[in-house]
């Protein structure tokens, strides 16, 4: 699909750096998806260059984090329907915003934040986390006839890398092996039809990130370079070279050169957490997630385009509280609170916050009673079913709730100290003002990054849009 005469061609503010793209000819191949259109005269001017997604995998309970409700402490015999929040509310530096105990550091930077309390997810019936995560990360509900790209892959494809030697889409903290939903997780952690070139550069363990960009273990840099030089000589000598016009051969050689450029470049130091001053490292070090935040900061400083840092989704672990939810949430908050606040302060101090959009989100919220949304046919998946609290294990939000979720955004041209949307004060705590769907939230994120929500590629002769069917509308009130 081509825009007629008077409508503009794709206007991204940033130049698409071809260095990491395999080859210009590739884009012309008939099998390659073709960019169709991207225009938005009325859209707010994009301020963000980079995006960090802080992913609370497993369903972070809003009433126990960023949307405090009536608090009931643990007490044997309390009927469970009386419990909405299991943490008391605390003040933040913004007058009209309260969050929950355990998030004191984030409370202290709330004046830099836009807090959306009315994010809603689709009711997909019986709940499978990875299916909602797929929906959140791609904007499309699986299964799909065309492999849907992760939002990071869209950014890599449309905007390209900022620094040509830093992969534009970096995915930190999710281990796949042994995960009961490994296949489902992999199904959306991908560039889909956009092609592997725009797929994630995976760093499952942030403390080992440096290894991902070093020569193989046990190989000195000298040997690594020598091996590559010999390879280049052999390429030159290969009779294959008679077909120098062969685009496959050329792109192969170029990719190999790109890889070595990264692996031999000084920018790879950004991946090495051991180079961070001890004092600074400790500010972040609450564990893998905290280290992931630190790595994200280092990478943004070096010119990364999109980074996801996850608390890691593992069925029944972390935010996926099917029992003992209060205790687990307390531990999770300890893990995320300090590093997120520090990330914001560090970005600000380096003058990067305005051009870095930080988004904290989760596939849905949680509730003590309701599974899915009121009226949903979803099966109850709580593992601590009880009428009244008997033991600590019963205390917490053990059901998946899709009716109202909190999203926290910082920087990147979003407002500061803004509270947007609300959920009902009493159960069911569904979004009652300004509901924001995944499609519109994505439109907001893409718009902040300078990508029109209507951007599309043609694949199998059909348009495939960056937001669902091109329908995403940015939430303009969130923009500063």
């Amino acid at each position: 699909m081509q825009l007629p005469n008077d409508m503009s061609e794709l206007e991204t503010r940033r130049h698409f750096l071809k260095t990491l793209a395999a080859s210009a000819t590739a884009a012309m191949m008939s099998s390659e998806p073709r960019l169709l259109r991207a225009n938005d005269a009325q859209a707010p001017a994009a301020k963000a260059d980079s995006c960090i997604l802080l992913w609370m995998g497993g369903g972070m309970a809003a009433p126990d984090t960023f949307d405090p409700k009536q608090y009931r402490p643990f007490e044997v015999g309390t009927p469970v329907e009386e419990i909405i929040s299991t943490f008391p509310a605390i003040d933040t530096v913004v007058d009209n915003i309260k969050i929950t105990e355990g998030l004191e550091s984030i409370a202290s930077v709330m004046d830099r934040a836009t807090l959306v309390r009315s994010h809603v997810q689709a009711d997909l019936g019986n709940i499978l986390h990875s299916r909602h995560q797929y929906h959140w990360h791609t904007g499309y509900v699986p299964p799909q006839t065309v492999a849907a790209p992760h939002i990071g892959a869209w950014m890599a494809r449309v905007l390209g890398p900022i620094n040509p030697v830093i992969p534009p889409f970096i995915n930190i903290g999710q281990r796949i092996e042994g995960n009961g939903e490994a296949q489902e997780l992999q199904a959306f952690t991908t560039a889909g039809f956009l092609g592997n070139e725009y797929g994630p550069f995976n760093i499952p363990d942030p403390s080992q990130a440096a290894r991902a960009v070093r020569p193989p273990q046990g190989m000195e840099m000298g040997r690594f370079q020598n091996r590559f030089q010999a390879y280049q000589k052999l390429v030159k000598e290969s009779p294959q070279g008679q077909y120098a016009s062969d685009f496959q051969q050329e792109s192969m050689i170029r990719s190999m050169e790109n890889a070595h450029r990264l692996l031999e470049s000084k920018h790879k130091d950004a991946f090495d957490l051991s180079l961070e001053p001890k004092e600074s490292f400790e500010k972040y070090d609450t564990g893998r997630f905290g280290q992931g935040c630190l790595l994200a900061r280092r990478l943004v400083e070096s010119g990364a385009r999109f980074i996801e840092v996850t608390t890691e989704y593992v069925p029944f672990l972390h935010w996926d509280t099917h029992e003992n939810g209060h205790t687990t949430a307390a531990r999770m908050k300890q893990e995320i609170d300090r590093p997120i606040a520090q990330l914001i302060l560090d970005l600000e101090q380096r003058g990067l916050l305005d051009r870095t959009l930080v988004v904290l989100a989760s596939e849905f919220s949680r509730d003590m009673i309701i599974e899915g949304v009121p009226g949903s046919t979803a099966n109850d998946q709580s593992r601590a079913k009880t009428e009244t609290l008997q033991e600590m294990r019963h205390y917490g939000l053990h059901r998946h709730f899709t009716g109202g979720t909190s999203v926290l955004m910082f920087g990147g041209g979003m407002q500061r100290g803004l509270l947007y949307g609300a959920t009902a004060p009493e159960r069911p705590c569904v979004a009652i003002t300004n509901p924001v769907t995944i499609t519109d939230l994505h439109a907001t994120i893409f718009t902040a990054m300078g990508i029109s929500p209507k951007t599309a590629f043609e694949v199998e002769r059909r348009p495939f849009y960056v937001t669902k069917d091109g329908t995403g509308q940015p939430v303009l009130d969130l923009f500063a």
């Binding site: 008939s30 020598n226 010999a230 016009s245 209507k454 199998e460 002769r461």
Partner: protein, 830 residues
């Protein structure tokens, strides 16, 4: 009057917030309201809206000025002489008028290339006999006859033939996914038989197992067959690995293959079942619609994905046609949904080429599927055969006769060639290997690859020769493993599917090969009566005398040293309360997990003549003391299935509750173990095994792992791991007909520093050095021959020597192997 009224409503209407979507918003209005008289070949009043240019030419619209556009005036007019559509037709709805207005105000966006004109090319349905052009210069292969004439017509030069070595490498990678071994390569090059290429083609295609292990990649991509994947978690998916492998192994005729996919047995039903994730699914992705989409795309090269939501804007397929095809499979009434909104209409089972006949919509689902299979494989369905021969041509030649291969509505560059191959397949009993052989034997295939300079799709494609193909992840890894003998062990799940039906692919392969293996024999020889006879001579044992009423919870290890006589088949029958894991001479045979069903374990392989050790880890799975028992008997069968002997109580069971390291091994000292207790015979309570036993209560557990032995596991039969994923193996959630043709930077990073690759190079270097420690020249020579099917040039030899070091080091060999395997010349199939 009325005109003014309507216009004022339009002005007052709230602006539609979202931008106009030409394909979804505008096309349906124009098609339904206008195109019948002003589209396609119709242009009443001299007005056609087939294209944007025509529309502008007619001067009825002014982009961005809807209120000044004549077309809007006409559709809003209530003047019977003026209004459009004419007075005898329905008016546009208010919403439709608003959309048109917005469309004009948005500047009349139009999809590039979209037209209401009829498709220029409509692919034929019927097979077509092709009159072959005259043989030129003795080039009698029908493909060459057609292409020689084509070259004359287009003024193209003859192809440049490739040499024997390049031919052999290309052929074996293409047909069986493996490199030629250096000694085979040398023998082939040295052979002076005139028809040696033909012989090589025949020999290669006759390697049934290699062929099946290679083509399972292609078919699994198309049929979405995965050993693990999305949907399995909730039983929303089923493998067809065993069926598919068997079909390839026996070169099942393609019409039969298609029949078994559409009207399946339990072994092949995974394809039409599709993939279902937990929870509700958009109606365009319901399993029934997936059925229509997959059958359309895979078997006919028809894209029904657009027409799963609405009538297609890009070809002739309609929403109803898709739903009606889906209804053939649906076991319940299927309501038509347009863009996920129910229409109130219900689909009627029908297939998409009624010219050939129709399914009976009243029939039950299995019968409808059989009828659909009949229609699909109808001798007059030329689209089935054209689609598959085009896919095979694309695999062999790098580009389809119709391309992309899933868009069979596209005009072929040679209809004669496509139609010839399609009919030829049909006339040769749908023998796919015959088609491959025909292609491989042509000069067209045995030609130097042409350089690809321009991929611009705007120009008409002209065939000039085969195109270079990139190896798939599977071909690439197999080639490295094969040339350095670094095949790795089968993965843990390969012999036994998990509770979700994932894994077990190698067991499925062995089962499919059953006709050649011992296993099927054993399955056939065993009968319920025979097992009953053995059970009648068997006893329950456990650690303590009152175990049939109460036994302590937990594990009990048992050992027995017994004499086992010779027999063609030595088997063990066993049952357990609650479970038992059985070892013979230290080899794990399998386990049994029920007291009312018996398991037959194969022991033949691991029996030593004379004394043998049976070891069993028994388990009483409970918190409370309750009954526990183990029943186990060794017996021998003759070749023809006669019970030769049942092991007499030659030994005595001893037991221990503790787990000692090596407790199941023959050299373990069990002298301190206590004597176990014989509780009673197989009829005893509480188990009453003999009384309840019938033919449904036994199962044979084959020792797949030992049957597999040290046979290499090809990449295609390995799980979808990170490295293969990086190299382009899809996760098989979608139908995939072509793999990525280029190496990306992320892949290059994995190849340059990934641990999988570097440990593979280490292992490979060890193997290479073990073969040859002293002769770097020979090492370099054989590496180039094995990997590239040619010796190194002098300069290549020097560069290689530089890497190897003096004397050769492990590091040096690793680096040379890496450098050679990363060469584009290695990755590409020329």
């Amino acid at each position: 009057m009325g005109c003014t009224l309507l216009a004022s409503i339009l002005w007052q209407a709230p602006a539609i917030a979202k931008d106009i979507d030409f394909a979804h918003d505008v096309v349906p209005i124009l098609r339904q309201r206008c195109a019948e008289c002003h589209g396609g070949s119709e242009a009443e009043g001299g007005f056609s809206l087939n294209t944007r240019a025509l529309l502008l030419e007619a001067d009825v619209v002014t982009p961005r000025q809807a209120d000044e556009s004549r077309i809007l005036e006409l559709v809003t007019s209530t003047d019977p002489d003026d209004q459009m559509p004419p007075k005898d037709r329905d008016r546009l709805t208010e919403k439709e008028m608003q959309l048109l207005k917005q469309w004009i105000d948005d500047g009349l966006p139009w999809e590039d290339g979209f037209t209401f004109a009829e498709e220029r090319y409509e692919p034929p349905l019927l097979p077509r006999p092709v009159e072959l052009p005259t043989v030129m210069e003795g080039r009698s292969n029908p493909i060459d006859r057609i292409i020689d004439a084509y070259r004359v017509e287009y003024g193209l030069p003859r192809e440049v033939p490739i040499d024997d070595a390049a031919f052999m490498r290309r052929l074996t990678i293409d047909l069986v996914g493996l490199l030629p071994a250096p000694e085979e390569l040398e023998a082939f090059v040295a052979d002076d038989a005139v028809n040696k290429r033909q012989q090589l083609i025949d020999q290669t295609l006759a390697k049934d197992r290699d062929y099946a292990e290679h083509w399972i990649t292609f078919w699994s991509d198309l049929l979405r067959n995965a050993y693990a994947g999305t949907g399995f978690i909730d039983g929303g998916r089923k493998q067809i690995t065993g069926w598919l492998y068997g079909a390839l192994l026996t070169n099942m005729p393609y019409n039969l293959f298609v029949r078994e996919l559409i009207a399946p047995s339990p072994e092949s039903e995974g394809f039409i079942k599709g993939i279902k994730w937990r929870g509700n699914v958009n109606s365009s992705q319901a399993p029934e619609i997936q059925f229509a989409q997959s059958v359309g795309q895979v078997l006919l090269g028809i894209n029904l994905k657009c027409a799963s939501c609405h009538d297609s804007f890009i070809d002739r397929w309609t929403l109803d046609e898709t739903y009606n095809l889906a209804a053939v499979f649906s076991s319940k009434p299927l309501e038509v949904h347009r863009c996920d909104v129910p229409s109130g209409r219900f689909a009627e089972a029908a297939w998409i080429f009624p010219e050939l006949g129709q399914v009976d919509k009243q029939a039950e689902q299995p019968e409808r599927l059989r009828q659909l299979a009949d229609l699909m494989t109808h001798p007059d369905n030329g689209r089935l055969t054209r689609t598959i021969v085009n896919r095979l041509w694309q695999r062999m030649m790098g580009r389809g006769i119709v391309d992309p291969v899933d868009a069979m509505q596209t005009e072929p560059w040679s209809a004669d060639l496509l139609d010839y191959l399609a009919l030829n397949l049909q006339q040769h009993n749908y023998d796919l290997k015959q088609t491959l052989s025909l292609i491989a034997n042509s000069h067209a295939y045995q030609a130097q690859a042409v350089a690809i300079e321009d991929h611009s799709s705007s120009e008409q494609f002209v065939f000039q020769g085969p195109q270079t193909k990139r190896m798939t992840a599977e071909q690439f890894l197999d080639a490295i493993w094969q040339s350095t003998r670094t095949w790795s062990d089968p993965d843990g799940n390969a012999f036994k599917p998990d509770g979700r039906g994932q894994g077990g692919q190698l067991a499925a392969v062995l089962q499919a090969e059953g006709s050649q293996a011992r296993i099927k024999t054993v399955d056939h020889l065993l009968t319920g009566d025979l097992i009953r006879e053995v059970l009648q001579q068997s006893q329950w044992v456990w650690s303590t005398p009152d175990a049939a009423t109460v036994a302590p919870p937990g594990v009990a290890h048992f050992r027995q040293t017994i004499e086992i006589p010779d027999a063609p088949h030595v088997l063990i029958v066993t049952a357990a309360d609650n479970s038992a894991e059985v070892f013979l001479n230290g080899h794990r045979l399998g386990d049994s997990g029920a007291y009312d069903r018996v398991v037959i374990l194969e022991a033949t392989e691991h029996v030593t003549s004379g004394t043998n050790l049976i070891a069993v880890r028994g388990k009483n799975d409970t918190d409370q003391p309750n009954p526990a028992g183990l029943l186990l008997k060794v017996f021998g069968l003759s070749e023809d299935g006669k019970l030769q002997w049942v092991e007499s109580e030659s030994g005595q069971w001893v037991w221990s509750a503790e787990t000692h390291s090596g407790w199941e091994l023959t050299d373990f000292d069990a002298s301190s173990w206590e004597t176990a207790v014989v509780l009673g015979d197989a009829s005893m309570a509480p188990w009453n095994l003999l009384a309840t036993f019938d033919d449904s209560r036994y199962a044979v557990v084959h020792d797949w792992k030992s049957l597999w032995g040290d046979r290499p596991v090809r990449a295609a039969l390995r799980p979808h791991d990170q490295l293969q994923a990086t190299l382009g193996r899809p996760n098989r959630e979608q139908v995939v007909s072509t793999r990525p043709s280029e190496l990306t930077t992320l892949e290059a990073i994995s190849l340059a520093n990934g641990e999988d690759v570097s440990s593979l190079m280490q292992h490979a270097a060890e193997n290479v050095l073990a073969q040859n420690r002293d002769d770097p020249d020979e090492l370099i020579n054989s590496l180039f021959l094995a990997a590239l099917a040619r010796p190194p040039s002098t300069i290549e030899h020097q560069v290689s020597l530089g890497l190897l070091g003096e004397p050769m080091t492990q590091d040096g060999v690793e680096d040379l192997l890496w450098a050679v395997f990363m060469l584009p010349e290695f990755h590409l199939i020329r």
